[in-house]
Structures are given as C-alpha cells and as structure tokens.
Amino acid sequence: MYQRVCFVPGLVLAASGVLALPAAARAAGQSPAVGTAPTVADDVGELRRELETLRQDYASRIAAIESRLLALESGRSAPIASETTPAPEPRPAPQITAAVPAGAATGGAPATLPVYGGGAASSKIFNPDISAIGNFVGAAGPSPGGGEPSLNMQEAELSFQAVVDPYARADFFVTLGPDEVALEEGYITFPALPGGLLTKIGKMRDAFGKVNGQHAHTLPFIDRPLVTTNLTGGEDGLADAGISLARLIPNPWLFLEATGQVYQGSSEVFKAPTRGDVSYVGHLRAYQDVGESTNIDLGGSIAYGHNGATEDSTTRLFGVDATLRWKPLRRSIYTHLLARGELTWSRAGASDGSFDAVGGYGYLEYQFGRRWTAGVRYDSSERAQEPGLRDEGGSFILTYKPSEFSLVRAQYRRTSFADSDSPANELLFQFLFGIGAHGAHPF
C-alpha cells in the first residue's frame, strides 16, 4: 500500500515532465553549473545561444515540413525509412524524457494518464519480465536405448524475473515437458550483502562445471554430453534446493571466484536418507583475459553427498573444466571460436563397495557467418554404477540463427554404447524460439 501511495505522485511528476514545454526543459538542462557565479553577460550569451539553437531548430523543422509537403504534392511514395520505422514521429519536439520508468516494458511516453486506483494500471509496471522459450527436438536413425522421440516438444521454459526490493532480485524458470511440469530453477539473489557474498537461496542448478549450470536452450548442442547422462544426472542434472554463497578472492593477477553451496540432497545423483544428510558443492573459477579478443576460463568443482543406495553410502564428484574463447571485438557479431573441455570423476558408494568412473567431453565451435556456427564434440564416459563399461561418441553440430530470438540446429551423433554391438547413428534437429523479455545469461 505504501508503495502505491508513493507511486502516484511519482507518476504525476513524471507525466508533467513529459508535458512540460520543450524550451523550458531545454533551459533546465542547461542551467548554470554548480559552484560558478554566472554574470549577467554570461546569462545573456547563454540566452542568445539558446535562441539561436531554437531558431535553427525551427528553421530546419519548417524546411522539413516544406519538403514533406512538396513530396506529398508530387505524389511520391513514402521513403523506405518509414517502412521500417515503428510509427516515425513527425520530427518530434525535443523531449527531455526522464519520464519513462526504467524497466517498464511498454516504454514510450504514456498516451493517456493511467487510471489511478484501478489496481491494473500500476500493477503492470511491477510485473516481472516474462518469457517463454520453446525447444522442439526431432530425431532420426537407430539407437539402442530408443533415444529421443522422432518429433518432440521437449520443453517450454517459462521465466519470470524481477527485482524484489532494494536488496534482492528473483528468478523463476519453470519447464513444461511433454508430461511433467517442473521448477527448473527458482531463487532469490542478494547481489550486495556485506562481505561481498553473492547469495542465492532457492532451487538452483549446482555450480558444478559448465554444462551442469546451463539451461537446455543455452547449450551449444541439442543433447547433453554422455558424461552428463552417465555421471551427473542427465537432462535434469545436479539441481536441488539449497543455499549458495559466492565470493571474489581479491588478488592482483586474475578473476578468482569461490562458490560454496549446501543442498537438501534430492537431485538425480544425491539423495539424502535423513534430514541431516545434506549435500555440498564447491566451485573455484579462474578467469583471465589474454588481450581483448582471447580469454581463458578454468574451473574446479567438487560435490559430495549421500546417494541413497544404502543408509550411509555417498557419492563424491570431482570436475575440472577449461574454456578458451576468441572473439575479435571489431568483428564480434560475425566470428568467434570456443574450445571447451570438461572432465568428471565419480566415486559412488553402493551396498557392495564403491565404483569409480571417469568421463568427459571436448567441444570446439567456430562461427563462420553472422548467422552460422559449426561445432564438433567428442564424448567419452564410463558409467557410474557399472564399472568397466565405457560409452564413446562424437557429434557434428551446425547452427543457423535467423535472429537473436530463434535458431535452427542440426546434430549428427554417432555413439558406441558399451553394451551394444553396433554404434548408433542419429540425426537430431532442433528449433529454439523465444518470446518476451528473457534476462541475459551469465558469461
């Protein structure tokens, strides 16, 4: 209630700012500098200058109107510019527009005053950014395990993101699958707690390596690597309810960030038999620019928790990841190169001892046109509970992006499963399309 009361005069002020005479607004914009004692001569000079600019402004505007009239009279078609312009304002009067509240999705100067008291008008302004991203995946070719369905609306991700109060923001990502609705992530972030701790509380994807933290629509490939399927929980991955604290480690050389997380123990890998058996994740990230185009990004991760096989059996995961990026700034929208590798070790306890398994992938991608990116991936991973069985595979990936908001992707994937004689040769394709305002993703 308090907020609304405050907001009404705010809107009135903002609206009057828009309605104010342009000249007055301009004069206000050029008021004498703080701390100087302007003389009368200065004032006169300034007034003269302003009059001169106004005169020029109006002269040019009249000239524009005249030329427009001429153009109309001679029956010429509208210039190309107007076809691409969303309603080009006919030489708008100079506006000092402080009125648009930042983050108001509709923007622009309000045509009419909102209706006060009707909850609808002001509540919309506080609506979160909403987006929906569709992820349609198709597959063809034989696969021993059945693999992906031929045509599948794999998921629709809905996101709701907004600032909560002066201290926090919240992000919700809900995935609607073919037969399930799940909270993929939903957390509050305190960006500026004392001590430099970036704190997140809620359901999150664990800070384990690179791929685990990424939503399906941000991956550079259609599927997840074999090591993810075999060792770190597959599509859902390591994601759980918990608390995350991350801090920068000051040092004169590089970007160093340490993250510590505590989770309930209810993911694909970690299952807590009792309330006390929470799981832990630790992550250290080192990043360094090598010139303005190239950078190196290294990470080490550790995860530990009960796995639910027996009352006190646990799983330990260790991971290392390395990324090399190259993107020349002058050509940044046309070309880039990314090389990434991740290795994961798993030691999973069971009723009959514990099993060690190791897996990883290597990925290389190159953007060769504004809309085109090609990638190649090598996969190899043992299975967590079946010692000695190792799956191996490789993929070629081609991505076409018509715009920032949609992409088409094809992936040829060949996999040799340890328990199958003939390799699986599959062709996957994907349509990704997003609408609405989706917050930027971390680098």
């Binding site: 500098a33 648009v100 701790l197 809309r371 971390p442």
Partner: protein, 306 residues
C-alpha cells in the same frame, strides 16, 4: 566435510576490501568514459567496459569486467536498454551495493538526454530489435553530450562534495570548448543542410537531427537484422531515385553489402566510428565529431552529393 565447508565459507567472508584515492568510475562505453573524464579530471579514475570499435549491443559480460565494477563508486550507463544483454549480469555479480540500479552510484545517462524514436504504438519483434525506450545512440548529438556531462557533474558533485567547485569549473570549460566546436561544425556542415544519406544500422538519428541530414533508409531491413537481398534491391532503387551518394557504416559491420550498394549507386561507403576510441585519432568526445564530420564533408565533396 561439513566443518571444512563451514570453515571455507568463514574464510571467504573475511578477506578485506582494498581502498582507493581518486573516485573510481566505470562507464559502459568510451563516450561516457570521456565525458566523465572531461568533468572529473584527475579526481576520477575512469574505465570503460566496451571499446569504441565494438558493437555496443553485443558486448560480452566477461568476468574481468566484474572486477572493475566491484570497486566502482560510480557506474555511468547509456541506458535505453542498449546494454540489456550484458550490463545487468555484470552489475548483479559485482557484489557492489553502490552501483546497483536505483542506488546513488548508478547513473543512467539517458535520463536527461534528448531521446528520439520513442515508439508511440505497440511494437513487436517483427520490427527487429526495436528499443522500446527509444533510440539509445543519443550521444551522437553534441547537445546530448552537454546534457550528459551536466548529469555527470551533478552526480560527481554529490558523490564527492569537496571537489564540487573543481568539477563545476571543468564542466564550464568543457561546455565552452564544446560550444566553440559546435560553431565550427555548424559552419562546416552549413552548405549541406538536408543532405540525404543511408546508414547501416539505426545509430545516427541524433547525429542526423543535429546536423540536418536526412536519413532515407538503412542497409539493415530491420534494426539488428542482417541485410537481405530483397531489401538491398529496394534500397538501391530508392537511393538511385533520390540520388543518395553517402552510405554510412559503423566500423563493426561487414562491408560486403554496403560496397555492392556503393557500386550499384555510385554512393561512397563511409566507415564512421560512432564512438570515442573507434579510431586512434578519436581520443575524446569533441574529436569524435571532428573526425566524423571531416570524413563526411570530404565524402560529400568527392561525390558531389547534395
């Protein structure tokens, strides 16, 4: 294990923060960085996130920028959603309460500027990458440079009141130099009022508005959408019909389509940096206009454009 992680967290929480003498300012672009330097002089230490030869819509949110923001006392942003794809995650990870949007150390430079192309009707992404809050390339009008410098003056004076008089005299000096330069630029451009031009992206409305140029079309069929053959053919026809001889391209766009348009129409393809630092010679805000206008006038004279 549990003890170990608690101990790690405790250690993480206790590393002290380093202090600084001059006011640490981070600007999202080199234009804003220079305007801050013009007003702040040696009482500020300014760093820019993006480079002048880089497309400011597509900057990568590199962690090294987080380090800059972590110790910033003031962040100056272009606003109007120009940096929507990269600045929010950087601010969020900066752990810096002073520069969060809405806090005292966050300055949206667009709030006092003259903004063009604010949509007045419903917009959709069928129109391309339209900026819903108006065109963010507003710094290309010297009048807006003055307004932004004034906003920076006000912000700096409030952040460091002891230096307010110093900042005010620096601003007055900049204001005067800019006014002198504007006289020079107006004289330079005076013979070419109403000159018809085509630009690659919609980066130049404020520039065109200020210097009385008439932008009749764009190489991009819609903002942010790469050139398409159909649109290029239409554009060539329109340029021939209106006898357009100047095609302005920002330095970060591919020159293939502009050059073929130039061959077809006889127009001069002019690579004009829209930002400070776009070329070595462009060391500050005033030299940005000096550089661009000199090239523009040379091209006009070369092609005999009207």
């Amino acid at each position: 294990m549990r003890l170990l992680s608690i101990a790690t967290l405790a250690v993480l929480a206790c590393v002290p923060r380093a202090g600084a003498a001059a006011l640490n300012v981070v600007a999202s672009t080199e234009d804003l960085a220079d305007l801050t330097r013009q007003v702040g002089g040696d009482r500020v230490r300014v760093e820019s996130i993006s480079r002048g030869y880089q497309d400011p819509h597509f900057v990568e949110a590199k962690p090294s920028f987080i380090l800059k923001l972590a110790k910033a006392e003031l962040l100056v942003a272009v606003g109007r959603e120009l940096e929507i794809g990269w600045l929010p995650p950087l601010i969020q990870q900066s752990r810096n309460a002073r520069i969060q949007p809405g806090a005292d150390g966050y300055l949206d430079a667009s709030l006092t500027a003259k903004i063009l192309e604010i949509p007045t009707t419903q917009i959709t992404r069928a129109m391309g990458d339209v900026h819903p809050l108006g065109n963010p390339h507003y710094w290309l009008d010297p009048g807006n440079g003055r307004r932004v410098a004034k906003a920076i003056l006000d912000k700096l004076s409030r952040t460091a009141p002891a230096d307010a008089a110093y900042f005010a005299s620096r601003y007055a000096d900049f204001d005067k130099r800019l006014a002198d330069a504007e006289k020079r630029w107006d004289a330079l451009l005076a013979p070419y009022k109403g000159l018809k031009i085509v630009t690659y992206h919609r980066s130049w409305p404020n520039f065109a508005d200020r210097f009385a140029l008439d932008v009749i079309g764009y190489v991009e069929p819609r903002p942010g959408i790469p050139p398409s053959p159909g649109h290029t053919i239409d554009l060539i026809a329109e340029m021939k019909r209106q006898n357009v001889k100047i095609l302005i391209v920002e330095p970060y766009f591919d020159l293939k389509t502009p050059q073929s348009i130039g061959r077809e129409t006889g127009a001069k393809v002019l690579v004009l940096p829209p930002s400070v630092g776009g070329e070595k010679e462009i060391t500050d805000y005033i030299s940005l206009f000096d550089y661009d206008l000199k090239l523009l006038v040379a091209a006009i004279q070369e092609t005999g454009a009207k």
